[in-house]
Amino acid sequence: MNHQSIAIQLQNVTQRFRVIHERPDTIRELFARFKKSRISYHDFEAVSDVSLQVRRGEIVGLIGRNGSGKSTLLKIVAGVYRPTTGQVTINGTLAPMIELGAGMHHELTGRENILLNGLLMGYSKELMQSREKKIVEFAELGDFIDAPVKQYSSGMYMRLAFAVATEVDPDILVVDEILAVGDFNFQEKCLQRLRAFREAGKTILFVTHSLDQIESYCDRALFLEKGKIAVEGTPAEAIKAYLGQSMIEEPVLVETPSPRA
């Protein structure tokens, strides 16, 4: 396999979080701690020793229970976290959709947000201005484009955020559970776009709790358990392992993240 054909490569990636028990948040507490005792903490590996290769044009789904490390893994791929150890290689431009509307500011207008969001994701002003029309079209904003985003309906808001992230034509799309929000119309629009992405040969890595989506969109699926890849294979294999595990242990919680955290 040559390097050109690999979009995402993780080599022995570990993300360790230091969970400090009542971290001294203020200097007062810090002083108090010097006098009393040492700071107690435990280390926790959200992702431990994961190696993964995603080929160009592949659609890979991540499933696993809450706290299995899916989102952490996505954030490592998106470059939000720098892993404690291990190597991450990304070939191509990457659009992160960790949360819809992460870079949106409520006081700014739709047009201003399109620019600001694009710049935050590392695209140029020129590119964003050339895509503006299509973004407005997808988001069905109409005259609202020059109104502050706080006046938008939540549908408009989500469509705008989704459009900004996808209209920039990234090579790789990293999606965290966002398809769980919005109404049927919105989900349909998003899925349509993901299908178009697949046909265009783009790489998609996504987290979802919808096993249907895994089944119908993914070429491959990974089942994560306690920060490790437990099963890597066809969607059917991963789902089977996932369901098998949930039967034995407690039932799966379906999280519905709020669109604006």
Binding site: G103, H105, E107, L116
Partner: protein, 260 residues
Amino acid sequence: MIELFRDTLRYRELIWALALKELKIRYKRSLLGFLWALLNPMLLCLVLTVVFSKLLGSPHLHFPVFLLSVLLPWTFFSQSLSYAAESIVGNGDLIKKVKVAKLVFPVAAVVSNMINLLLSLIPLLVIVLLIGHPVFLTWLYLPIPIAALAILTLGATFFFAALNVYYRDVSHMLQIILQVWFYLTPIIYSLDDIHIPAKYQLFFKLNPVSYALNGFRYGVYYGHVPPLRSIVASFACAFIALFLGFSLFRRRQHDFVFYV
């Protein structure tokens, strides 16, 4: 240092957009809008003039010019610091969701305040004309102290922005520090006005911000270029601050995401 320069250049569009956003949001829904940025130091100047010139009898002719020439750049310095200290923590939500170069936030805070400073030079010029203070050719010298002050401020903002991520007390403490600093810096007085005991002289000489600020007073009020010694000192302070501030920031920047 090269990294700072390279990244600032690389993200210039983003920094500019963030700086404009900051200004826009700060003055949104206020009737006078951006004018507040200019009115604020003018009103403070009025109060200080009444107290120090009329009541306490400051020996300086055209006191408002004497004062504003330094008060405006000081306002830039203190405002930049206040905003930048919050710049990483305030953008925490963003930092946790998008891969973005962290340095753009403090730099944007400084840029937005720099826009304020440059615009406030216009009302300063108006006041100079109204009072009848001569408009010296040395106004043209101002870019030099502006550059020194901007570099110094940037260094300080990196330092406080990074520190505030770990200890939120920093932004509260900063307000007190700035207030004390204001009085210890020759802004409402000049060093010639006061008798400083020999053992405290060194302390005043070590004030890193005073050299750059002095350049403004020389250019606008006195009408001559400061001694070379003072110019060199202003840039020395500026680059030392930038080096120290940015080193700390750079070392910790990948760590911020876990603490915001």
